[in-house]
């Protein structure tokens, strides 16, 4: 892989890249069969991510959903090589990033090359706004650090860029607040600072790792609204990691449901919400309390995924296609490939819908393409309900 240095391509003039500059039909990020494991000190390695595939297009929001520890964050952090190695290790796979028309495998870049991508091309915002800012530096210092690193500008220009970025994310009186310290900001404001910092260098891809989990509900809505607006303005691709299905429904174009380090369901937001095929996804939806239902006890996710009938609802179940579910024994006719995750396969069940299934005879005979959805709700004339 030739070393590419985005900063040379990126000049100070590129302050507002319009979406038209990006080829929207080429995926920004294509994660292919990613597997990451961690050293446990003693005992076998912990396989955090195993055979994950996904794509993100410009101006698209991919929501990654799943319970804690299912590998959502590891997937995102791997694409930026933020997974500490050791104890982490990339076992397999690649993360191809479309950089000015060239496809770059982010996982094989050297640390120095990767630094050119971090912040400038791909930015990330984290879950904990309270601790993600360095307490001993002013906000201005921290935003300027990123700008001065990636953009060939003078200090006063950089300050202008920082002020504009802070203004964009709705921080009042940005110029005077540049010299404030993080502890002088509230949680919501700090998350805005984080977003301003991430967006100051106009990244084309934003990885938002549960950006609103630590915030209260009203702030959540504001931040998500802000992110959506910025995304539309700039044509960024966004990976939105969350476990809040409400957030998914509101914001996502494509949904990727993960469980135990593997993708169990992948599809457009309408497909997945209307026709959830994997029992785990169905369990997730069923465990949301509904406003108008009166039940003594809520349905737990286990009640759904333990129900064998649920597994038969998958198309092709009669042919021996079974949703992959680690708590069950694999079907009799399983044909595993050698190596980890060989018993698992991400099967296309319809044009815009993939489900993780056991690699049985029925599926291994019908190779399906990896999940790849160039879909945005905003462009979809058939979308059942346009968002706002």
């Amino acid at each position: 892989m030739p070393a590419t240095t985005p900063s040379t391509a990126k000049t100070s003039t590129r302050t507002s890249p319009s979406a038209s500059k990006l080829d929207e039909s080429v995926p920004l990020l294509r994660v292919a069969d990613l597997a990451v494991s961690f050293d446990n000190g003693k005992g076998p390695r912990i396989q955090a991510v195993d055979g994950v595939r996904m794509t993100i297009y410009p101006r698209q929001t991919l929501a990654v959903v799943g319970e804690s520890g299912c590998g959502k964050s590891v997937t995102a952090m791997s694409t930026m090589q933020l997974v500490p190695r050791p104890p982490g290790r990339f076992d397999r796979g690649a993360a191809f990033f479309n950089h000015n028309g060239k496809s770059v495998n982010l996982l094989t870049l050297s640390e120095r090359e990767m630094q050119q991508f971090r912040g400038s091309e791909i930015a990330m915002i984290f879950q904990e706004p309270m601790t993600s800012l360095n307490p001993v530096y002013t906000i201005g210092d921290q935003i300027l650090e990123a700008i001065l690193l990636h953009q060939n500008v003078k200090l006063d220009e950089a300050i202008e860029i920082a002020v504009r970025a802070m203004d964009d994310v709705g921080i009042p009186d940005p110029r005077s607040r540049l010299s404030d310290y993080p502890h002088q900001f509230s949680g919501g404001m700090r998350q805005r600072v984080m977003i301003a910092m991430a967006l100051a260098c106009d990244p084309v891809l934003l990885l938002a790792d549960e950006p609103t989990t630590a915030l209260d509900v009203t702030i959540q809505a504001q931040i998500l609204e802000l992110l959506r607006k910025l995304q539309n303005d700039r044509g960024m691709g966004m990976m939105l990691i969350t476990h809040d299905l409400g957030v998914v429904a509101e914001n996502a174009d494509v949904v990727c449901v993960m469980y135990a380090g593997r993708v169990v369901e992948y599809g457009t937001v309408f497909e997945v919400f209307k026709h959830p095929l994997h029992p785990y996804t169905r369990g997730l939806f069923a465990s949301i309390p509904k406003m108008h239902e009166h039940r003594r006890r809520l349905v737990t996710i286990n009640q759904i995924v333990d129900n064998l009938d649920e597994f038969k609802k998958l198309p092709g179940a009669s042919d021996g296609v079974r949703p992959w579910w680690p708590w069950h024994d694999p079907p009799k006719d399983i044909r595993p490939k050698p190596g980890p995750a060989g018993d698992y396969y991400l099967q296309e069940v319809s044009k815009d819908h993939w489900v993780g299934v056991w690699r049985t005879a029925a599926v291994s005979d019908h190779e399906s393409p990896p999940p790849d959805l160039d879909y945005r709700i905003a462009d979809d004339p058939d979308a059942p309900s346009k968002k706002k």
Partner: protein
């Protein structure tokens, strides 16, 4: 910032008071208490007894040995504090300090002999207030000498009387009123009806007569001295705030009996030496320990980490006395390597040295500065080596902890390179615990330098304290502890201020 500093300085006062109280109580709880006699007094026989009595009289003046230890402490802190209450002292231009004579203690067990204590004679004539200073001063000195002489006689008479009473009581079956060291428990003795028919009673009576006679002479002389003091023969010390009640003046650290000089002049010589040792040692500790801690953290698990960790723990575990003895023995002793001077801080001939090194016709001359440095090598080495481990370990731990912080991930996600993350983000945050470590390292270094001074015979505060312990020179012990305590507390305060400056989350309010 100003108010913050003021408030912190103000908070030091109770700490210093508590600290000195602790040491005072420690000494007071020892055998003989605050007034314990010098373990060694110059002279022999009569002269020795006289000097001991004089010392006893001085201590009684200063602390009021008959009162409660807490009151004694109060008197002491009143003397050393810059804010003073009561009549102001008078100081001669030569620096001698004269204070209002304290009231005399009643002689013991006088109830056994007389109906009432003897009254003082009328004071002798003293020069008028508006007389010449010299006349007043001569009169005062005369009165003071008379009083001191009479008092020494009285104290000795009293001691002999107590011994006689002790013998009598022991003989007449009142063993419990006599302590194991021969002194009489006066409280108990007062309640005993003495056996006047015993053969020893006459001895007791005779000693009592002598004691009461000397007492009468002493209080008469004291009346004269009081009158003389009231004429103000010397200028008064300090600046009055409310005349006669509160004044501000230089602390009175008392006289050293073992050396017969004011303690303050001893401290003036010794303190710079101790400070020099620490000020040389301290930067060395930080300059070696902090970078190695950073290296160990960034190369966690590598040979650098393991080697520096093991080396520092080993150094830390070397007892300072062993290091000192080995250094003196093998490095300094002429029988072995003889590379360094064995003791002291300067060559014997240092007073004649030039400041800087020079080449003369008899070869290379070290000069004062280099000679001092050469003498400092071993002591400073012995002070610093133990400090590396704890500071380096703390730096490493702080760095490692900060490496796991979320903001480091943020910085990485921004594209900051590894070196900047280490120094700009992680180390900057690790500064706070490193500054905090000052609180542990500085007192340890200071105390270490005390021991080192003793081993290398450097005439600093530490040597002085340990000499004073052996000699039971209470004044040096108390004053040196006070000064070392203040040095320590001020250093800790500086660290606090540094911390407040380094951490933006702390506001100076």
């Amino acid at each position: 910032m100003g108010t913050y500093l003021l408030r912190r300085l103000f908070l030091l006062i109770p700490t210093v008071i508590g600290m000195t109280f602790l040491i005072f109580m420690l000494i007071a709880s020892s055998k003989g208490g605050i007034g314990a006699a010098l373990a060694f007094s110059s002279g022999a026989g009569q002269a020795k007894g006289e000097s001991a009595a004089l010392q006893r009289a001085r201590l009684e003046d200063r602390y009021g040995l008959d009162s409660n230890v807490v009151v004694q402490y109060g008197r002491w802190i009143g003397r050393v504090s810059p804010v003073k209450f009561g009549t102001r002292d008078q100081v001669s231009p030569a620096g001698e300090r004269f204070r209002e004579p304290r009231s005399m203690k009643d002689p013991p067990l006088w109830e056994w002999f007389v109906g009432a204590l003897p009254e003082a004679d009328a004071p002798q004539e003293v020069p008028a207030k508006d007389a010449e200073d010299e006349v007043k001063q001569d009169a005062y000195r005369q009165a003071s000498n008379d009083f001191a002489a009479a008092r020494v006689d009285h104290v000795r008479a009293r001691t002999e009387f107590e011994l006689a009473v002790g013998n009598l009581l022991r003989e007449t079956g009142h063993k419990d009123a006599v302590e194991s060291d021969g002194t009489v428990n006066l409280g108990l003795a007062k309640r005993i009806e003495p056996d006047k028919s015993h053969a020893m009673w006459s001895d007791v009576e005779q000693k009592a007569q002598l004691m009461l006679d000397t007492y009468k002479k002493t209080i008469s002389n004291k009346a004269t001295l009081d009158a003389s003091f009231a004429t103000k023969p010397f200028p008064e010390a300090g600046i009055p705030i409310i005349p006669g009640v509160i004044s501000v003046g230089a602390p009175d650290l008392g006289m050293s009996f073992s050396r017969s000089v004011p303690v303050i002049s001893l401290i003036k010589d010794a303190l710079p030496i101790t400070l020099l040792l620490n000020l040389v040692a301290f930067p060395i500790i930080y300059l070696i320990a902090v970078p190695s801690g950073i290296l160990a953290a960034t190369h966690r698990g590598s040979w650098i980490d393991v080697a520096s960790g093991s080396l520092f723990v080993a150094l830390w575990s070397i007892p300072v006395v062993w290091a000192g003895v080995l250094a003196i023995g093998f490095l300094a002793n002429d029988k072995y390597l003889g590379l360094f001077p064995v003791s002291g801080l300067h060559d014997n001939d240092a007073a004649n040295f030039l400041m800087l090194p020079s080449w003369g016709k008899d070869g290379f001359k070290m000069g004062y500065a280099l000679d001092t440095l050469w003498h400092l090598c071993l002591p400073v080495a012995c002070i610093v080596y133990g400090g590396f481990a704890i500071l380096s370990k703390q730096t490493r731990a702080a760095m490692l902890e900060n490496f796991t912080m979320d903001y480091v991930r943020t910085a990485k996600a921004k594209g900051v390179d590894g070196g900047s993350i280490v120094m700009r983000h992680v180390f900057r945050n690790s500064l706070l615990p490193i500054i905090t470590m000052f609180v542990t390292v500085f007192p340890a270094t200071l105390a270490g330098s005390v021991v080192i001074e003793r081993i290398f015979s450097i005439p600093g505060m530490g040597s002085m304290i340990i000499d004073a312990i052996f000699l039971r020179d209470t004044e040096i012990l108390l004053s040196n502890s006070l000064i070392i305590g203040i040095v320590n507390v001020v250093a800790l305060l500086l660290a606090d201020i540094l911390y407040a400056m380094a951490d933006p989350r702390i506001t100076y309010k």
